[in-house]
Amino acid sequence: MAEYQTVYGSLDNFTKGGVEVINDDPKNYVFSNMFDVASRSKPWEKVAIGKNLEYVVECIRAEGVSEWRVTPHDEFALVVDGEVVIDLIDPSSPLVDPDASGSRALAGEPEGKKMGRVTAGHGHMTLLPAGRCYRMSASSPSVVLLQTIHGPDTIERWAEICQKY
């Protein structure tokens, strides 16, 4: 019996599919590729590749060390290429309104208790818990998909990343 080979994409090697129109506008499908997006992003840019009303999926090029951020609600980081180290801090006083949407950048390392560290490889999903602070680092260019809500640093550049014709 033939061994199956699972095909993933990566920054170095991806192939895009696309919309083949019969009677439609390809823009309706908001079609992009996360590795294509990350290969053209600056480190730590939070580029939306999916949006459903207030909710977004952001594609983040992880490279070097990120700023510290605080999130008002749970977020989930999925490493889809490379390896990312995530440090978590429980701030000594609340740093964000729990009703706010999307994470906020912090000026420097927040005061508080160290919660722990996750070293997440390909296909690993990490909880970024509500009310807590996190910082990511990647020693070589990696890609993170972030399940979150549209926030002040979410970037929407659909016309640049999506199939138009």
Binding site: E3, Y4, Q5, T6, V7, Y8, G9, F14, T15, K16, G17, G18, V19, E20, I22, N23, D24, P26, K27, N28, Y29, V30, F31, S32, N33, M34, I49, G50, K51, N52, L53, Y55, V57, D74, E75, F76, V80, I86, L88, D90, K113, M115, G116, V118, T119, A120, G121, H122, G123, H124, M125, T126, L127, P129, R132, Q147, T148, I149, E156, W158
Partner: protein
């Protein structure tokens, strides 16, 4: 899952093939060795037992899902969350023009109980409607036992994230979830999680691809992570989606491995609109005015992403939410 209680299921004596007939409202269902026969006051329908049972399995396990679950070009259900339309020809232009279509609304519990009983009675011991074609025996022939262990499986729905304390557990060999034959090359290592005392309920990570590689079902989106109404519903796919899904909201697909080809048709008429070819890393929305069916040549990992807000169908009906997620 909603518990179904105090509902009468209308069924009759088993026929010469051993299968009971079922009826709900003015719809009548029966099966023989090969086919399922459906009648309603203005028409009849015949379909093969295997695709019918595979569609019925999803409709039952998903509690009628979001929007419309078309079993084929004629038969299907539309979920109104508490009550459900059962229809024939309702979203088929030719049936509509000929006035052969029929639709009735039923309380959720009534149609759920009827479909559950039909699925149990009509599924033979050899057949698993959730399995890929190469992983199950035949659906056909005279009645021979049952496979209730397989047909009572439901969607996994994590409360916060899979693998956390008091949430959906990881899948392991020991818990009866070996790595699928098509995913033997998927890395099974777990992330390194270093937790300071007191933060065991917050510092959490798991190998999501390994979790998917151990799924024993196909075309069954299950919730793994929850950000308010934003639900990650990944699924492993092989062969053909057994239903044609007509969503009542925008739905997103993120292809994590391999490839799926989607056929997209107009929601109401079934007229072809587009083909969407998705390779690993591709991300695409399905508008709220279409229906779609996927073809996965090799077992693949698909992240289905849903906005679970109960307000959306009415927002779309009132024009407050668009049928497409973004305009650019």
């Amino acid at each position: 899952m909603t518990d179904v209680t105090d509902v009468t299921v209308l069924s009759g004596e088993a026929n010469e093939h051993g299968y009971k007939p079922f009826s709900i409202g003015e719809f009548n269902f029966s099966r023989d060795e090969h086919f399922v026969h459906v009648t309603w006051p203005s028409g009849t329908h015949v379909t093969a037992a295997e695709p019918f049972l595979k569609a019925l399995m999803r409709d039952v396990a998903w509690n009628f899902f979001y929007g419309t679950v078309n079993f084929d070009a004629v038969l299907g259900t539309t979920n109104h969350y508490g009550n459900v339309d059962l229809f024939a020809g309702r979203f088929n232009e030719a049936y509509r023009k000929a006035e052969l279509d029929h639709m009735e609304n039923f309380p959720h519990d009534e149609i759920k109980a009827t479909f559950t009983a039909m699925l149990s009675d009509w599924t033979n011991a050899t057949f698993d409607p959730f399995a890929a074609p190469m992983e199950t025996g035949s659906a056909y022939g005279a009645k021979s036992g049952n496979n209730d262990a397989a047909v009572t499986r439901t969607r996994v729905t994590a409360k916060r994230m899979v693998g956390m304390p008091d949430d959906e557990p990881l899948r392991t060999d020991e818990s009866g979830y070996p790595v699928n034959r098509a995913f033997h090359d998927v890395d099974q290592s777990q992330p390194v999680v270093e937790v300071e005392p007191g933060y065991e309920n917050e510092v959490s990570a798991y190998n999501f691809f390994a979790y998917l590689s151990r799924s024993d079902v196909t075309w069954n989106p299950s919730v793994v992570s929850v950000c308010k109404d934003s639900l990650y519903c990944p699924t492993t796919e092989e062969f053909i989606l057994p239903i044609i899904h007509g969503n009542d909201r925008v739905e997103w697909f993120i292809q994590l491995s391999d490839e799926i080809i989607w056929e997209v048709e107009d929601l109401k008429t079934g007229t072809p609109r587009a083909k969407v070819v998705m390779k690993a890393g591709d991300c695409a929305s399905m508008p709220a005015d279409i229906r779609h069916r996927g073809y996965s040549p090799k077992r693949s990992m698909l992240l289905v992403w849903e906005n679970n807000s109960p307000a959306i169908p009415d927002m779309i009906a009132r024009g407050e939410a668009s049928v497409v997620p973004v305009k650019f």
